[in-house]
Symmetry: C2
Subunit: 129 residues, 2 copies
DNA sequence: GCGCATAGGTACTGAAAGTTAAGTACGCAC
DNA sequence: GTGCGTACTTAACTTTCAGTACCTATGCGC
């Protein structure tokens, strides 16, 4: 079994283990996507909403609040009228960006393999039925 | 802005982009936890359920099916009575394990920083109110 | 032959998440 | 002075998630 070190270092059985808590945060449907777009240089609410296809205004605001509350994104409100607010990654947010890089690379590299696995699974199901 | 390369290589705006699809799969609440436990050497339904605290039988079955359908976990049914089924990581599953390793390391390393950020945010909220 | 164990499947139900649509408050161009 | 744009907030509605409870089939101990 060729598994990396983290199999020993994280214990999901432990309710106090940070894995549950933070996995819920960054395993969220939109969080990483929003951080990605901010990292690409889009800092304003409207810009982000237009870049992240399919997100509603409510989810964007809600997710940005959660990211801000956890120190991953900094919110700068210029307190002008009309409103002008900018979001930027904090150093902590940037470090998370680096940590999930390999995962995104895996997604890109492995997508074809996953599609093949799905097709094979569907074929097995059809055959069994 | 010190962001890694993947900010340019993945485009969440594109509905065809694999990021959405696979992020939903592995960003699931239980998938990574279950793969972790299987990687630790627990291969049977009951073993996994006892290791992953808080999961119900239904969610375990459901998640294992999804992982199997996507080629991350292999299911071996020995077709005996009483039933004996074993789950193991496929090579694809092991490669995903490696890819999320840095993320788990980040979680362990950054948890204190996140807790501090939360406390600071709560203090700001209390002050504003 | 009763109940327990295994590894699930299925249906019902409540909770949570997310969507749409509308409202807030102001300035600016037309 | 009508409508647009910004960055939200709120309410009502819908969809999805997840847990409980009960069901399959079989051999074992008693």
């Amino acid at each position: 079994m060729d598994m990396p070190d983290w199999v020993a270092s994280v214990d999901p059985c432990d309710a106090d283990c940070p894995s549950r808590d933070l996995l819920d945060l960054i395993g969220d449907r939109w969080s990483l996507l929003i951080m990605l777009v901010i990292g690409q240089g889009f800092h304003r609410n409207g810009e982000i909403r237009r870049r992240v296809g399919g997100i509603s205004q409510k989810m964007l605001t809600q997710t940005l609040r959660a990211l801000e509350a956890n120190g991953l994104v900094a919110r700068h409100d210029f307190a002008t009228v009309p409103p002008h607010v900018e979001y930027r990654l904090t150093p902590l947010g940037v470090s998370l960006g680096h940590a999930v890089g390999p995962m995104f690379q895996w997604i890109e590299a492995s997508y074809p393999a996953v599609l093949r696995a799905r097709a094979a699974y569907a074929a097995r199901q059809a055959q069994a039925a």
